[in-house]
């Protein structure tokens, strides 16, 4: 028990950048990090929703700023990282959360749609690591939101699976590289199952649109059937991000934290 800090799950004095932090899992993550003591730069393309998330954090007594941010644009990553340092005093935690999906059978998937998913979900994460790692110091933590879709396959989401699988292994590559260079920076991935958010709802609706289920209820029932504990909540993911952001995980590097109610256990 020697050398254990009083409360290692606290994040006081740390600055976190959460991409896609305006809504859904990202907003829950930003709020949880702030509640645990971190100052948070909420970045998103959705300005009004992002500002509202910042306002909620401030109303709860937390510290946060909003930054308009398209994660596919390298210059905007440089600016976002600089903003975290200039406005909040540094960067110890990067949560690469921004992500999109497109629903289509492989034979029907437009190449532009495929590329767009890869651009946001893969290039966005790469650029985030590239620019955050340049300023991060020992003890910093990078948390990449992959998905159970980065571990198993499913119908009509080829681009999403490809992108999340890439995030899973980019994470390990970065983890090994950061360790080899002696940076003292950890890189881990989180793999949520279905979480009740706008994106989760859209994911279910897509099955109806594609004619793979007769209606929303049927699609939801089919997806629920493979989630033995039902669907998750954004807070389930946010709690794990706080754990990985904290010094409690100082020896975790290159790990996959699966939060899926048993989906991939079967």
């Amino acid at each position: 028990m020697s050398n254990s800090p009083q409360n290692p799950f606290r994040l006081d004095g740390k600055v976190a950048l959460v991409s896609g932090g305006a809504r859904g899992i990202g907003a829950a993550v930003a709020e949880a990090l702030a509640a645990s003591g971190a100052a948070v730069l909420v970045t998103d393309v959705l300005d009004a929703v992002g500002e509202a998330t910042v306002a909620r954090i401030r109303a709860a007594g937390g510290k946060a700023e909003f930054f308009h941010h398209d994660v596919t644009v390298e210059a905007q990553w440089e600016q976002a990282v600089a903003a975290a340092v200039a406005k909040l005093g540094g960067l110890q935690v990067l949560v690469n959360n921004a992500g999109i999906e497109t629903a289509a059978l492989i034979t029907q998937c437009e190449v532009d749609d495929f590329k767009r998913v890869m651009e946001v979900n893969v290039t966005g994460v790469f650029l985030g690591m590239k620019h955050a790692l340049r300023v991060m110091k020992p003890g910093a933590s990078v948390i990449n939101l992959s998905s159970v879709a980065g571990i198993i396959g499913s119908t009509a989401h080829v681009a999403y699976h490809a992108s999340k699988g890439a995030v899973r292994l980019m994470t390990k590559a970065a983890a090994v590289e950061c360790a080899a260079l002696g940076t003292g920076i950890r890189v881990n991935s989180i793999h949520p199952g279905i979480v009740v958010t706008d994106m989760g709802t859209a994911f279910i609706q897509d099955f109806v649109k594609l004619g793979l289920a007769p209606d929303y209820a049927a699609a939801e029932a089919a997806i629920k059937a493979i989630h033995p504990m039902g669907f998750g909540e954004p807070s389930d993911i946010a709690n794990a991000v706080v754990y990985l952001a904290s010094d409690a995980t100082k020896w975790m590097n290159g790990s996959e934290l699966v939060i899926d109610g048993g989906l991939t256990a079967a």
Partner: protein, 259 residues
């Protein structure tokens, strides 16, 4: 802020090493502890430390490989604290030996402690948790190892036992989830942690300090882990913060299996 207040936790192999750290941390975070071990003196010492820090704990001597010990251990837990919410199946041994060198006796002993006991603990804990859990549900945490994911030519029996724990955990998780039991079952996979077990293991195969340097170099982060690194993971899985996590593998290994 206590993260597992009002929970009752049973930790096997709780007298030393990772088990001791888990017991102390869970108690510090508000849980009432049952420390189970073969070693009475070391186990009582952990209980004393928990009480001295203001916590509640009892020691029970238990041979986890003995089926009859499990109903007794769980009955003692429920009798003293009224419930069982968290079981940490931590007790384990490591006997070096390749697929050719390992003796059948060593193989069976390893399986008995590392795998039979995890099965037995889970088998008897689930009905107890089902009967007594509050809104938070129950959590069973099985300590596997990176050696349940990747192999070592000189750890044939240990590899087999820890691989068994890994997939048994998923089976138990699915049983609980599909039956709506509100009990989660997960495995933890530490890399090499500096504990009496690892020290004894190194001693059995050669020079301890040389051995430690060799183990340090296996982990990309550059050093073996500390017991608290694992204890914090167990705390996360024991708490309601991980209520949607079941059948998962929590790898805490300094990057060992990422490379």
């Amino acid at each position: 802020m206590a993260r597992v207040s009002n929970k009752v936790a049973l930790v096997t192999g709780g007298a030393k090493g990772i088990g001791e750290a888990c017991a102390l941390l869970l108690a510090k975070e508000g849980a009432k502890l049952v420390v189970s071990d073969l070693d009475i003196a070391a186990g009582e010492k952990v209980v004393k430390a928990i009480k001295a820090a203001g916590g509640e704990a009892i020691f029970i001597q238990q041979d986890v490989t003995d089926e009859a010990s499990w109903p007794k251990a769980i009955a003692a837990t429920v009798e003293r604290f009224g419930a069982l919410h968290v079981l940490v199946n931590n007790a384990g041994i490591a006997i070096p030996g390749s697929a050719v060198d390992a003796t059948l006796a060593d193989w069976r002993k390893t399986m008995a402690v590392n795998l039979d006991a995890v099965f037995l603990g889970t088998k008897y804990a689930i009905p107890a948790m089902t009967g007594t859990v509050g809104s938070g549900g129950g959590s069973i945490i099985n300590i596997s190892s990176i050696e349940g994911i990747v192999a070592d030519p000189n750890l044939a029996a240990y590899n087999a036992s820890k691989g068994g724990v890994r997939i048994f955990t998923k089976s138990a998780a699915l049983h609980c989830a599909k039956n709506g039991l509100k009990i989660r079952v997960n495995s933890v996979h530490p890399g090499y942690i500096w504990t009496p077990m690892v020290e004894d293991f190194l001693n059995s195969i050669g020079d301890v300090s040389e051995g430690r340097a060799g183990l340090d170099s296996l982990h990309p982060i550059g050093h073996v882990g500390e017991v608290m690194d694992v204890a914090y993971g167990v705390l996360y899985l024991a708490s309601d913060e991980s209520k949607f996590v079941t059948g998962s593998e929590l790898v805490i290994d300094g990057g060992y299996t990422a490379q």
